[in-house]
Symmetry: C2
Subunit: 338 residues, 2 copies
DNA sequence: CTGAAAGCGCTAACAT
DNA sequence: ATGTTAGCGCTTTCAG
């Protein structure tokens, strides 16, 4: 059978309490005893059981990670990378991550992941936009929450956020610097704070350069931000406006979809139309042409998020702490000077 | 505080044993009692604690997922998708997955993931090639193991495997059907069973069509199977052999790397050279040209793997059970008839 | 400085 | 049919 603290105690001829004490070397156990115990531990290759310890300490060393299923699947692997980032960071802090996707529309039935009802996590990371109701459902459990790439309107929660306004502005600035004036914005779901902020950055840049906003250049009727939505938005744009020279798509998926559609209409990228995305997703590297975009450090964001969580758990908290992640322009081949 | 089984018992005026019994409705508790208990449970919104239950039942309802860090990071998100597949399937079976990457070279120090030493998993899924030593380290823990996309030479473990031979053959057959005769193979790490099998499929196809094997067309000197390795293998190929018309790269990453390199040498794909990959990775959809490849159903593979694990855990085992996943040709634009 | 013992929340004999 | 009780492996007062 598996070796327990009792076995160690017996072998070292001390009580289990003593073993436990040296394990958490808070108390100054005399060196002789400590050495005896340590030796027994080593000889037996004893490892404390996380489960048993969890029961008495009421902590699991698990962190829940919640994301809606469509975010995790239908779009580019953006949240997957954030997840991986939390995972890597977690390892260094002796935590494990429990992933749980939830439906993107609220569902009374199985509103909450099992890991919360079963008290199997010490805290929860919420990635991307989630139904507001779930946050309400979560409330009574008193678990530390940290949001990433989204946070609910009342700003009272911890969150690590991308600087989407800066990103939107950088993208648009770059297009303007390239000489473009008729710059379209392809977006979807303006309820989403990220999209809204990217759009805001776009408007800021135009305003700063005194370029008037033109509604014909702004397509925000999509509800998704998928590749398909990008293609669809692109046809809308082509219908509404003839003389676009550049487009800023609110994310790479839409940019890629738009590129595909433009090409199928005989437009060359970037000769006929420049296009810039946002996120810096893998597919943008090998697309034709490779996509100019705003790089978002996804792994790093995940790591930061986990760090905030650990800070909370270990009471080094600044309550409702926020972290803003800044983003960089990555120039590839889908944009050109005119 | 959190509501426990005692609270329920008290409220229903029964003992905790009775509550536990109705919870696992094995015994036929009279309906009156059962209803009383159920009502108390509902009123109190009681949920059993996984931790406490785990302690007595000696099961965690966690499954460990081990993969080497370079598999998980440096290559295309192949194992990420397999991981996701296990995750989705796990949810349906009330399990959670604990992910743990390990170094790809054996490391005496922290040989084993914490989740095994701390007894925090009921079984382990091992994805991709791992150092043989880790399997030895794992042995004493007596945990059910299931391998996915790799398995150690002695065939005594459960495994779900891709039909790489079939895939390699399908890829090569297709190239041959297109009229190609001088077909190169770009590979790396022939120690890896998957690569070896794909190569085997390649040879099988040639043999069947009586096309002699030409060593000048076979590049297997790479140790990695990354995009960079693909580019590097491509220059080797160009050095060794002038009149190649098609290449079968052992995976998409290498194919994509090779394409990039060929293009930089002024070769057009597929006009000058046809290329086919293996895996069907996202980036292949938007690459230039979109990549013809062998589709591997990654999510599904993950799900199958988890199913095998559950079968083992619930004793519906066929010991050392194997599952072979078959693969399909996906024709896109990187190959042409000659 | 160390050991005895209570208890974390739950399950499963064993009694009644 | 239901309750009593002894653990599961660990931590932590509280005595000694």
């Amino acid at each position: 059978m598996t070796v327990t603290i009792k076995d160690v105690a017996q072998k070292a001829k001390v009580s289990t309490a003593t073993v436990s004490l040296v394990l958490h070397n808070n108390n100054r156990i005399p060196d002789v005893t400590r050495r005896k115990v340590l030796k027994a531990i080593q000889d037996l290759d004893y490892r404390p059981s996380r489960i048993a310890r969890g029961l008495v300490l009421r902590q699991t060393h698990n962190i829940g990670f919640i994301v809606t299923d469509d975010h995790f699947l239908k779009t580019e692997p953006f949240y997957t990378h954030i997840f991986l980032g939390t995972e890597f960071e977690a390892r260094g802090h002796k935590y494990y991550i429990l992933l749980n996707t939830i439906p993107s529309v609220f569902n009374e039935q199985n509103c909450l992941p099992r890991f919360v009802t079963e008290k199997n996590v010490d805290g929860i990371i919420i990635a991307g936009k989630v139904p507001a109701e779930i946050i309400t459902c979560l409330e009574p459990y008193q678990l530390p929450l940290v949001f990433v790439d989204y946070h609910p309107a009342n700003g009272k929660h911890c969150a690590v956020l991308i600087d989407n306004i800066e990103g939107g502005k950088k993208a648009t600035d770059y297009l303007i610097d390239l000489g473009h004036r008729r710059i379209a914005f392809l977006g979807g779901d303006l309820d989403h704070p990220s999209i809204r902020d990217r759009f805001h950055g776009y408007k800021l840049a135009l305003e700063e350069k005194k370029i008037p906003l033109d509604n014909k250049l702004i397509i925000t009727s999509e509800t998704m931000t998928s590749r398909e939505a990008g293609a669809h938005a692109a046809v809308e744009l082509l219908k509404k406006s003839k003389n676009v020279t550049a487009v800023f798509a609110c994310n790479d998926a839409m940019a890629l979809g738009a590129i595909q559609l433009f090409k199928s209409h005989g437009l060359r990228i970037p000769q006929d139309i420049s296009i810039i995305g946002f996120d810096d997703v893998e597919a943008g590297i090998t697309s034709d042409p490779p996509l100019t975009t705003i790089h978002v450090p996804k792994i790093d964001i995940g790591a930061q998020t986990m760090k905030v969580m650990v800070d909370i758990l270990e009471k080094r908290v600044k309550k409702s702490h926020k972290v803003l992640i800044s983003v960089e322009l990555v120039v590839r081949a889908s944009t050109r000077k005119i």
